[in-house]
């Protein structure tokens, strides 16, 4: 027997668990934080019964949902109906394989890390579109169609934003993207692209003000209207896990990943993973703040913003950035 393969396999499984378990726990606390922040914005108290300050509320909710009956509509396409939430959940966890939390703290440090993240986030639409179609019901179907159009539109501008960052880095490796920001975080020279990326991330994760796929005032609950119990939990977890994933992507591309703001003594003594977490929490707070502040976009306005404002603007910035880098001879290697 060759024990080396087994040991390597066990190490890989341990690494995966070391990433996935904290992500799932942070999803639970993100849901709690969202409810608490929204409550504070609206001058309410929020969850405050389960545990101290209601901190265990999400776990109680999860337990309640899982013990409920899982209803599969008789008119649905059963296999696709069950596959859809699983695909959503798997894809939102798969992206974490390439995220560097600190120098060397990454499950798989591949050369095309950013392309992998882009590919995984663009696959996220399948869970939604399959759920909408398999439910065989009008509201979910409408939600799925809206989502497909929305995610494809905003992916284009996200692609251009990523290209602008890559022009400044000269590599597709996420660790190298972070290390290229040692002098200055890309959020400062590329501020307009940072804003576009943040807004597109809101649209890509179907968050307010772009949550048209699950628009409760017109579509009941959108694409997961027919889902209950554990399959609903999977959608819920998937949505929040991909929210954290998009925040980490923003942090890596624009806010210097694990790097401290200034490379001076008390700041650079703090471990990188703490800086990373603090920045991700800041972006997540922005996500929640936006939800508490802005009204929902109308569908045609959403499409106009994506295609007629963001696409030309980000295309212009790609050309402007590459022109600047070539003219001042600042292209990386």
């Amino acid at each position: 027997m060759n024990y080396d393969i087994i040991i390597t396999g066990l190490i890989i499984v341990a690494q995966i668990l070391a990433v996935v378990v904290p992500v799932l726990i942070s999803v639970a606390f993100l849901v709690y934080a969202e409810r608490k922040v929204l409550a504070l914005i609206q001058l309410r108290r929020g969850p405050n019964i389960v545990g101290p300050f209601g901190i265990l509320q999400s776990f109680a909710d999860a337990l309640k949902l899982i013990t409920k009956e899982n209803i599969i509509p008789s008119g649905s396409n059963k296999i696709v109906f069950i596959l859809a939430p699983i695909i959503t959940m798997v894809l939102s966890l798969a992206g974490w394989a390439v995220i560097p939390f600190a120098p060397g703290w990454v499950v798989s440090d591949i050369n095309v890390g950013i392309m992998y993240l882009f590919a995984v986030s663009s696959l996220g639409v399948y869970g939604i579109i399959m759920a909408g179609w398999a439910s065989n019901s009008q509201y979910p179907f409408l939600g799925a169609l809206r989502s497909a159009a929305q995610m494809v539109s905003y992916e284009v501008s996200i692609g251009f934003v990523i290209i602008t960052v890559l022009l400044c880095v000269g590599s597709l490796n996420l660790s190298k993207i972070v290390l290229a920001q040692q002098t200055v975080w890309f959020a400062i020279p590329l501020l307009p692209m940072f804003i576009i990326f943040f807004i597109s991330a809101l649209a890509e994760t179907n968050r307010l003000p772009f949550d048209l796929p699950e628009d409760e005032s017109t579509l009941v609950a959108g694409f997961f209207t027919e889902y209950s119990s554990a399959s609903f939990v999977l959608f819920f977890l998937g949505e929040y896990a991909s929210m954290i994933l998009m925040s980490s992507m923003t942090v890596i591309l624009f806010l210097g990943g694990w790097l401290p703001p200034f490379d001076v003594y008390p700041l650079n003594a703090v471990p990188g993973v703490i800086w990373f977490t603090v920045k991700v929490i800041f972006i997540l707070f922005l996500f929640i703040w936006v939800r508490g502040t802005f009204p929902r976009y109308r569908y045609d306005q959403l499409m106009r913003l994506g295609w007629k404002v963001f696409l030309p603007f980000s295309l212009f910035w790609v050309v402007a950035t590459s022109g600047f880098l070539v003219y001042f001879d600042m292209l990386p290697n």
């Binding site: 663009s122 494809v152 597709l172």
Partner: protein
């Protein structure tokens, strides 16, 4: 190496089987979903070849964009597959001809002496370990040796894009469009019009 061949056979067998299911599935939406599975497995094969950039491009472009629109159209249209299969025998000879041509071409490729090939010093189906990332290698070849071909591809795509826009763009009368600039420039002096209405007449 055992793991390598195992993953190769996994990816290739799933790709071939799902490709078969694409043409044999009764439900057109299932066909598209199997097509997507086939694409994903093909990208897995690219990763095994060491061509990770091509693998990711395959997923981003074909799975993330093209297949989504495909699925979109197939779901929206009410396709009657029984009706489509009526002409099966009529198209069979043409399809068979295409298949035979493809098999002959592949046969020629396998049977010819490939020692004259420029790549003969590299064994295929092995990851090429190199100091340069293959993203950079593609860039170095694409923008130097194949520069004109690359530009021609771009122009063809541009023409196709403009063509499809002109084919579908039509201005039907009676559609109210929102003009955001004109809405934003409205102020009290232009929004409200004062009129003196005579008693008993109306406007």
């Amino acid at each position: 190496m055992v793991l390598y061949s195992l993953t190769f056979y996994l990816f290739s067998s799933v790709a071939v089987l799902s490709a078969l299911m694409v043409i044999s599935a009764k439900n057109p939406v299932h066909s598209v979903l199997f097509l997507i599975l086939s694409f994903v497995n093909a990208s897995g094969l690219f990763v095994l070849l060491g061509a990770e950039f091509l693998a990711m491009i395959l997923v981003v472009v074909y799975v993330g964009a093209v297949a989504v629109l495909f699925l979109f159209v197939v779901m929206m249209l009410d396709i009657n597959f029984v009706k489509l299969r009526e002409g099966f025998l009529q198209y069979l000879p043409f399809g068979a001809l295409l298949g035979i041509v493809l098999v002959i071409e592949l046969g020629i490729l396998f049977l010819t002496d490939r020692s004259s090939n420029i790549y003969n010093n590299q064994t295929p189906l092995q990851p090429i370990v190199s100091e340069v990332e293959n993203t950079k290698m593609i860039g170095q070849i694409l923008y130097t040796e194949y520069f004109y071909l690359f530009q021609i591809c771009g122009i063809i795509l541009l023409v196709a894009m403009i063509g499809s826009i002109t084919l579908t763009l039509r201005d039907k009368g009676g559609v109210k469009r929102q003009n955001i600039d004109s809405q934003n420039t409205v102020d009290a002096s232009t929004a409200i019009e004062k009129k003196k209405v005579k008693i008993g007449e109306g406007i």
